[in-house]
Every structure is written in C-alpha cells, then in structure tokens.
Amino acid sequence: MINFKKYRILFLIMAAITAVACQKNVTLELSDLEGKHIIVESRILDDGNVQWIRLTWTSSYYEVDWGRPVQGAHVEIILNDHKPFILQPHPNHKGIYYNDTITHFLNNSAAQLEIVHDSKAYKAHSRWEPVPHIDSLSFKRNPLSIVGIYNDTIYDLSVHFRPLDSPDACYLFNLYMNDSLITFRPRHRGFLCTSNTERYISSPVLKIDRSVLKSGRQLTLEMRSISREFYEFNNIFIAQTDFSGNPFAGAPPANIPTNISNGAFGFFQVSSVTRMVFDPPK
C-alpha cells in the first residue's frame, strides 16, 4: 500500500552517515531554456467551493521569483462532455482563473482542461475518483523522531478507513489548522495508494510537529482522491526538491512528468474530497 520507494530516505540517511562527504553551496554557470513555458496548478474539488487554476511562467534557475503570472489566457473546463465552464481571471490575484458555478460532479466522470494563450493551446484530462469515508484518526510518535533522526517532537497522524472496491486507488492528505491550510507544499503532504481491497487500511499519512497540536485549535484532515499519475508526479517532485543530485539518489535527473500537452509543466487533477475535523490529542 505504501510505495516502497518512499523509504529511499532511509538509504540516504545511512549513506549520509557513512559518507564523510560535506556540502558546499555554489553558483554554476547554467544555460537557459529556450522560451518560457506555462506551469499549471489546479484546485478542482467537489466540495462546493470556488474552483481555480493558477498559471505561471517558468524562469531561469537562479532567478528569484514566486512564479510570474500568465495573464490574458483563455481557460475553460469541460465536464462530462457538456457545456464548457469558462474560468475568469481573478481581479486581485494575477495568474489565477476561477469559477464558482461548477457545482455538480459525478464520480468517475471526466474533466478536460483547455488553455489558450498567444494562440498556443494546452490540454489535459483528469477523472473524478470516489473517496472513502474516514473512520478514525490516531497519533503516534514518529519512530525516526524517537531515535533522534527527526526533531523529537514529530508525530505521525494515521488514518483508518475501509478501502473502496478499486484495485488502484490513490489519495492526497492535507492538514488545516483553524481552516488554514498548513500543508501547502508537496513535501508536507501525505500520499497513499491502496491496491488491496480486502485489507482494512491503517496507515500513517502525515508528520505533524507537536507545536501544531495545541489545545483549543481545530484541526481538519482532508483526504482527496487522485490518479496514480498525480501520485507519481508528487513523488517525483518531492524527490527532485529533496534529493536531487544526491550521489545515492537513484535515477539520473529528469524533468517531472506532466499530463498537460504542448510543453507545459505542472499537473491538472480533479478530486473528490472528504474531511474529518478533530481536536488535538492531549
């Protein structure tokens, strides 16, 4: 159920301990990518909230920016081969295109994204998969925290649920504190794929620092259904951002795969979502 490659970190830890290697920050002379490319982020959930797509440009490697917005694009999503929903540019947040009228979704239905900018069209497909009901949550001190690899205040949040009747179902987990998302980067999120429909799932999905678990706070675990491709996208993205260039990091560096056509980066994913609100444990 948990992909084995997630435990590559253990090899890296051991290798780092073994090797007397040091790290030194440097600046290299790098070539630049020809032209700029669009990066796509999506938040298309079946929770009745506003749906949005964020479009930004790629940049030179050493250029410090947070993603220059793509303006003037035409963005639409077509649900179940019906009438397209046009996403409007957000008046206050450049690069964000939104729509608050997409409200009805069907499990296993498809969504198609179409972006046109400067006469160049980009397309992607995604599919809503169902998400199971979360039965309960539990906390346990992280084993790596116990032996001092991590900060000694790290806890594992485990989720318990009965898997759906699907041979290959993947999920993304987010944590909200008082309705604010605190797992906003991919490396902070949890990912899980299940392939065994017989076995009840009890699995750690998120690492939480004890400082988050203060009494009086309201915490919410969000579970989204995602495709296997998006699961791989996130795994590779995390590997790139965490282990890139490590001498024991595995395959040669390569670009993160995408499901968007015509040279764009990022990923288009639509998800079903379920949430469970809980109080920090005492």
Partner: protein
Amino acid sequence: MMNLLRFLSQKQPPFRGNPAFLLHWASDSYRTARYILTLLILLTISLSGAAQDYRVTGKVKDASTGDPLPGVNVVMDKKRTGTVTDPMGNFSLEVREGEHTIVFSFIGYVRQVQNIQVTGNLQLSISMERDRINLKEVTVSAEMANRNVERAEMGTVTLDIENIRNLPAFLGEVDVLRTIQLLPGVQSAGDGNTGFFVRGGNADQNLVLLDDAVVYNASHLFNFFSVFNADALNDVKLYKGGIHPSYGGRLSSVLDIRMKDGNTEQYNVNGGIGLISSRLAVDGPIQAGRSAFMVSGRRTYADMFLLLSEDEVQRKTRLYFYDLNSRMNYVINSRNRIYLSGYYGKDVTRLSELFSFDWGNATGSIRWNSILTDKLFADFALLYSNYQFNISGDIGPASFRWNSMLNSTNLKADFRYEWNDRNNLSFGIQGILHNLNPGNIVASIEGATLNDLTLSPSNGLETGIYINNEQSLPGNNLIISYGLRFSQYQVMGPGNQYIFDRRNPLMWQVSDTVSLAAGMFYQSFPSLEPRVSFRYRFNDRSSVKGSYHRMTQYIQQAQSAQSVAPYDVWFAASNNIPAQTSDQVALGYFRNFSDNRFETSVEVYYKDMKNISDIVDNGDILGNEFLEGQLRTGHGYAYGIELLVQKNRGPLTGFVGYTLATARRQIDGINENKPYFAPNDRLHDVSLSSSYSLSSTWSFGVNFIYATGTAFTMPVGKLNYQGSIAPIYGERNAGRLPDYHRLDISFTWNPGAGRPNRRFSSSWNFSFFNVYARVNPISVSFAEKEENPGIPNTSFFYIPGPIPAITWNFNF
C-alpha cells in the same frame, strides 16, 4: 589434442538436450563455432615448426614465500627463444640435446642463470630471491625489464603490491583499486570512491576476479574502500584491451587478482594498525616444503568509539566492515598441486534498532593445477561466488525486511599446450550457473501497511569454450595471437518473464507475465567472440602492437547511484534486455629508453558497444519488480588515446599517464533519442604517481590527478509549483562539473631497513589525502532547502581535505 580433434569432428553436439550438463548448445551456433575452431587448429598446425628433441619444464617461485611467480621471463641461450611463466609459475621450453643457458628475470628479483645439460626431458624448480636494493621501486609492471616491448599483449597492466604500499593511501588503507584508477584509460567513479570505469564502460562491465571467483560488489563502506586487503594479495592484473579468450562475461575489462600462497618454509606474521582499521595476516607451512596456508583479516573500528557515547541511540549504532581471506596449497607431487582459497567480507550498518543494512561477498575456489605431459598444462577449478544484502526497517506499521542474494557456481578447465617454441596453444571450457534472487520485500510485523513485494528470481546457465594460439613467426619479431571464444547464456526457470506494452516510450506497462518452470531452459543468447592481437618488434627497445576483441555480457547491474551502491541488483539477459556486446580495436607503440629505465607507450582505441542499458527518465529501479521496464537499451561508443611514461629504476620511480578520450551513448527513449555523454566521459585525464627514496629509511610518495569535470544533467530553468521549486533539466549529461584535481603525499619511515637480518621489522606510513583541500564535487544538488523553500539552491557533495592518516605496519 586428439580428444579435442575428436570433439571437433563430432556431427552432433555432446550432451545435447540434457540440462544436467553444463555444455548446452544452440545447434547453429555450435556448428559455426566448431567450424571456426577447426580452422584455427588447422591454421596452427600448418604454421607450426618442426618438433624439437627434448623439453625443459619447471616452476618458478619466490624463494622467501614459496609463492609461484607468474610472468617471469625465461630466455634460452640469448637466442630470444623463450617463454613466460603462467599464473601458476609454470614454464615449458623445447630444447635440443646439449648444453644450454637459461636466464630467469623478473623485476624486483635477482636475475638467475641456469646452465643445463640436456640429454632428455628435464624438470627444474627455480627459486628467485627478492632484490632488496630495488624493492622500493614504484612500477606498474613488475616484470621483465622490456616486457612492455616484448609481450604481444597490450592494454594490460600488472600492479606490484609491495610497491603500492609506498604510495599515499586514503585514510591509510592501501587499496589496489585506487591505484588502478590512476592508470590511463581508467576513471574513478568519484572522489573517495573505489568504483572505476575502463575505456568508457560502466562500472558493472569490469570482471573482478579473486582467485578466479567473481566478486560482484568490490566495495566496502559505500565505495570508500575496496574489499581487497593488500596483505592477502600477491598479484593484480588489469586487462583493458586485447583480452584473452579465456576471459568472458564483461564488456570493458578484467581485473584478475590472486591471493598469496603462503610460505612453505617458514611462518610470517604481518599486519598494521591504522586510524580506522587494523589488520593481521599469518602464513606459513602446514607441511614444510609441501603445503602452506595464508590467513588474513581486517576490521574497522570507528564505531567502537560510539560505545563511549552517553546517548543510547549512538551507543546502539554500528558502522563497520570486516573481511577474511584465506588460501591453502598442497603439493601432491612434482606435477600436481591443489589450491583452496576463500574470501568472506561483510559491512554492517545499524541505526539503533530502527534500521539495519548489511551486505557482503563470499567467494571460494578449489583449483587443481596439473602438468599432464611435458607439453600440456591443465588447470581445473570449481568456483563459487555469493553476494547478498539484507535491509530491515522497524518503522512502526511500515516495518519491512528485504533479503537479496546472488550466487554463481563456475566449473572450468583451462589447458595450455606448448606445441613448440613458436606456438603456444591454450583452450578451455567453462560453465557458470547463475542464481539471481533480488529478493522479497516483506512486511515484518502483523498489520503492516506495506504490501509484500516479490522480485522475480532469474536463473541462467552461461557456458563458454575457447581456443587461442600465440604464434611467434621466424625471426621472433612478429608474434600473432588469434583465438575465438564461443559463449552462450540460457535463461532457466524458475522465474517470470514480463511482456511490456511499449506504446508509451517513457512508461512501459506490464501487459502479461509468463511463468518459467523450474529446471527448464528457455531463451538462448549465443555469441561468437573473436580475439586477435599482434606484436611487431622493431628492436629490443620498440615495438608496435594491435588488437581486436569482442566481448559479451549476459548479466548486468541496475545502478541507482553514480557508481555502484550495495543495494543495486544484478539482472540477466531476458526477452526485454538482450545480451550486451562490445567490439574494441586498439593500436599501440611501445618504446623504452635508457636501458629500459624509462618505458613509454601510446595506445589508441575505439570501442563500440551494443545493447548497453541506461535508466529511463524518472525510472525507479529500487525494489522494482518490473525493473526491466525502467531500462532502455541502445548503442554506446568510446574512443581515445592513452599515453604512459614510467621510470622503473633508481631512487625516483613512478609513472605519468594521460588519456584523451570520450564516451557517448545513444539509446532510444532517453534524451529524446539523441546521443549524450556517458556519465564517465572525461576528455582529459592526467595522473602522476611516484616514489622517491630519500634515504635507506625514508621514502616519499606522491599522487597527482587532474581530470575534466564529470558530466551532469544541468538545469536550464525552474518551475515554481505550490511554493516549491523544481529544476527543469536540459539534455542528459550536457553540463560539466568543475575540473577534478588532487594532490596526495605520503612519507614512509622504515627504521629497520638498514638491518635486513632482523626478524622483526616495522614501518610508519604518514599519508595526506587532498593536500591543498581542493573541493572536488562528487555530485551536484539542486534540492531546495527546507528552511528556504522556493529559493534556488545549488550545492556540491565533496570529500573535505586534507585528510591525514597514519598507519603502523609490522612484519616478523
């Protein structure tokens, strides 16, 4: 010979269809091989001269240790007729009746002259004394003075273990693989790394043999040290080109390492105490003059200091390796000798009770060396190799165990037939049974969240038969060596074969699985491997040589790191991964100066590799049951020029090597099908290794290396995604890390050098690795920092310098 000819005249292959026998042929390939072998035999017969009257045979050994001496030059009557002792120290010469003079010479030993009266066949036993005066010479070829000019072989280097001891050693550990990395045509896999690449090949394309048994992972401590304990070694030989047909199974090189035999006359103890390890070796007679043993062991002990820690986790942490070498020989009679040898080594890493990772090699060999007739020498061997690793993690519900193992059992027979003084025929046969079991990854506790994962085993039978003749033409100026090896790999059950849907070139999906029944043979991969070389001697000081060889490799390693990581698994040729082949041509000019004080050579080569594999973009090979789907195969090539200048005698000895070379790959499905640089491509590679005797008790050693920076895949931009950044990469291996250069020095103080009669002697070695603290990147990272998300970050992994080391060595 008659048996061989009878075998060649058979119309049907022997044992056909019987899987119990090691010889198992594909009929077409068999017929072709038989035809070519017959031609070779006939050619040999047609070119052979008239038989001589009598034969002088014998064995040459080290007088002090009793070890056989391979490669000793045996010259008769100043006529330039002669031979060289084989790996067991044996030689055979044809002579006419009458008085003759035979000269035995070998660098590092006192030249010996024998006057003999020949009235019939004669057997000699030669004991050569070490030359104490020249013992400290640093040479890469401890053999006859102008051997590099005289011998037909090229691309071959022999290392003298005694001389390596005087060179700077990383953390004080004398390591033959580090010395090999200094040679032209050989590149290091990275700073502080014992992995090596030969002439543009991958690290797994080197056949590493310890007493003929394959060592599958020759490294300790994540490649920082090799598994070869110098105390146990007698002879190290690297073949980069012109590889003899008795060797097969790897594309790029053969590293043939022999252990010491043990002294048949007296007991010796030697060892050393260093900063990170200690070692001890004992050898001596079991039965004086008839049998001897050698046992050598070492262990690192850095982790023992952790026991002093107050932190419980640190106290329970383990990080060490040990290895044990042993060898025994027994002289049955003047014509037969038996050798037993074994190696066992293990690395142990434990992170408290949370995580453990152990790995190690074991090899064993039984060899029977026999002089069947005065002309025919035989060597029969049964060899066993094992490599395994065990990983376990007790990580709550994700606890797991992973046990992986690789075994090979090799049965072989090699023969050398001294036809006459112009033809030296060798032939042999071998069969290797491979059992590759990458292992099962199993959840180690009840209710685990990790699914059990079965990595399909792979079994196969690799067979080989070869014949070669080294022929000296009249005048002895031209020597040609021509031979052929026929090899074949047959896939055996049990196991699985996977059928992939390849419509998406970047992501193959398994579409079907075929189960292979245990004990049954399936797909065959036959290969004919011609090997040809020549030497034309202009005079005593210069010659030109050329060679061509084809090599075939049936098992290879999926490498998840820059070099070889302990958890990389080996896999065999299959329906998805064909056998790899390489064709290499080389041409060299060899010239000695100042009475062979200076040896120079220049060699050019071109190597073409087919079905070479690489990992597809974002491939995941760690614990992947469908590993083959993560690899793509294609074409590779390498070419270059190698220069070597070495000084063999005098207070200052050593060598300077320079390589100008390139290595590239073109594999469909990788780098948009465009050619790209191999990870080991280095345009320039210069190395200097030298020793200088400051006095009778002090010597100074130095290594200097300069090489073009390693190829790496360079970011050409970045994408900012949900608050994190990831590089956008350009073409594979299109960038270059900064150039590599490093200076190491050492001082050796041998206070007892002036008193040779003392039984106990000791020396101190002081080494400094990377004296001027050059930052040589092992790799470059573009991973953003946790504390600075979204901010571009580039960093080098490197070994800091200088690293001092001190080692006390003793001998009594």
